[in-house]
Symmetry: C2
Amino acid sequence: MQFELTDELIEQVQFLIEMKNDKELQLLLKEYHYADIAEILDELDLEEAVYVIKLLDSETTSDILMELDEDNREKILRNLSAKEIAEEIEELDTDDAADIIAELPEDRQAEVISQIEDEEHKAEITELLAYDEDTAGGLMAKELVKVYETWTVAGCLRRIRGQAKDVTRVHSIYVVNKQNKLVGRLSLKDLIVAKSDQKIADIYISSVDYVYVNDDVEEVAKVMQKYDLEAIPVVDNNQILLGRITIDDIVDVMKEEADKDYQLAAGITQDVEADDSILELTKARLPWLVLGLFGGLGSVFIMKGFENVMETVPSLFFYTPLIAAMAGNVGVQSSAIIVQGLANDNVKGSIASRLFKEIGLSLINGLALAVLVILFGFIINQELIESIAIAASMMSVIVVAALVGTFVPIVLDKRGIDPAIATGPFITTSNDILGIYLFFVLSGLIIGF
Amino acid sequence: MQFELTDELIEQVQFLIEMKNDKELQLLLKEYHYADIAEILDELDLEEAVYVIKLLDSETTSDILMELDEDNREKILRNLSAKEIAEEIEELDTDDAADIIAELPEDRQAEVISQIEDEEHKAEITELLAYDEDTAGGLMAKELVKVYETWTVAGCLRRIRGQAKDVTRVHSIYVVNKQNKLVGRLSLKDLIVAKSDQKIADIYISSVDYVYVNDDVEEVAKVMQKYDLEAIPVVDNNQILLGRITIDDIVDVMKEEADKDYQLAAGITQDVEADDSILELTKARLPWLVLGLFGGLGSVFIMKGFENVMETVPSLFFYTPLIAAMAGNVGVQSSAIIVQGLANDNVKGSIASRLFKEIGLSLINGLALAVLVILFGFIINQELIESIAIAASMMSVIVVAALVGTFVPIVLDKRGIDPAIATGPFITTSNDILGIYLFFVLSGLIIGF
């Protein structure tokens, strides 16, 4: 059943578009899931993609739009009238509808909203647009199945049949009191198993997880993951039920967060993909490279300061890439573990105990590596004092690099800055400079220059 | 409603354990969700944790066990008898039960299985244990709601009431034919909305996504994410329905994969957390550091070969950390983009076009950085020919590093090796050596030594 995007399929679609053979094209695309059609559209020219969107009914195209690559979606929407976009919006759940509108330029947003015919849908979308996109409110949908505690099971089933039409998937039925405050939940299963004359108040489950509308999405993701939830209701500060968030949206958030952190660690400053344009890739990569360059030029400066050592202990200069590499690697390892620990809430204990642990850990690693450096010195017939100086200062560099890698993210996190920025090139670069400086100073103290 | 793990709470639990005040302890813990109790237990001593597990009923403790940190779970299980573990297993869904048993030492596995009283549960768990843990079979549960296409809606609802008791959450109802082949699906909603005398054959939806029992879990995750599924049925090669996978398990798989890739990129070879012991952290970190050290010693060797250049153009040696850093950073960026692209299936086009793009991209980046290096040369009054030699060879190093970073993961992927291992220290180290060698050779050609 796996869909495979083949060149033949794309060519076939392109051929039918060129021939304007709408009937055949509709028949062909009907076979595919909207997520598959989105993949096909991502491969077409803009004009071709717009042609397909205008051809298919808005029930299908609204879903396709949601699955398209963001850049492509933006381009296609620019080629649709406000009326046409509004028609797509009518078909979407409120959360997706609000997301699409939020992506439009501001002047078009009002225009599109004014064209939405369903007044309730319009009001709900406008409400959702007011929330910050990184909060529960920005992620929730207004579609949910809600019952009052005073209803009976039979009455409930009857009304759910009405409500459920608008809700793609019924995860939980939320139970509210007269003031619309969330008081509990029910599953469809519970309802089916219950007797039809029972009151909802007698059968609902009062322990219900929920999040507040202003909670951060990462917090929502953590709660849903921890408690294995597939949907979670969103309430305001007075417990009034406002909407619900479903796990598929959280899966997307998690994927985006993981990709972003990975890219930050690799020194890529914005969301790019392998198939983006050279210009976009350059914009994402050059900033960190320039930072790395300044770091490297800083090392040039430091080493120029020790130029006279070249005559007495030239071999020190051979070790500078090694020192920079070790400082960088240790720093990246330490920062990665801490950043992940902070994200997963498993960095516990006091600062002092962490300090102690990190020093212990890096001393063990440093010692093992120092032994190897001294052995290497024997092999290449290096003066013992030089080998010892190099090994000892390398050990110190490793300890300092580990401390920088551990504590910079912790400090950033305490100040409310995303600690993930302190991984990769940032740590590597600062540790490079610091490491090389320390290396020369300490070797100088041991060898005596 | 957010649960917070406070020191007071832990102390209170510890006090009640010490006092052996079972009644109060049970009352206290009853207030909390099993995932919260697991967090509390992760903070207790082994003896205390075992005390709590033995105190609470197995319906609760089985869920707690699943949420515990893996190391802690292993220790606790070692303190339970085969009979006691079997009692926990009886309460768990088949997928969780099989996971727990798979974690036990082999001799205990048979012992625990033999103590399971429910014969059907035992058979199902034994079946699941046979599948590779990285496949759909290793992730699926046997619990699902299955109806035959010949049943009526009323008969269906009646039987579902029976089946659903064993199924925590009914996502979809799977429709099978007489041979137990999967033919379609139904939602509870569809069933409630349908008339009671309709036949299932008339109302079921025949387009149903499914995966094969031997499909890779990453493939399953991709399918479920793409099609926004909350559960997916698993079939064998003859389309016989074997089990189902739910999104909460996929969420965990995605999280683990993302953490693993992030750690690989940061040079950490096994799954560790910030709070693991120094020994475990060393085991995870030292291997890559040793690799980095060998790389650095390789650079020492290369530079020793160019020792005589120290007299004519000493400044070249000041630039070696810069060259190594640029080679490393560019390589990590390129590999990260490709590894992510391969994971998300968006690396398209031919090898030739990718080669062309990567060269173009790195030439642009390299040129921008080369200009900065020449400017820096002016500022520090460096000979122009030296600056040009350094800038030009740096550019070449950047191009080569980008190519290595791009194509090593592609080659690994083609050979069926996880390309994520070719990020971080691996790319940094090989690019460091290659870069420094290239730098001296090319500078030599330009300056003439």
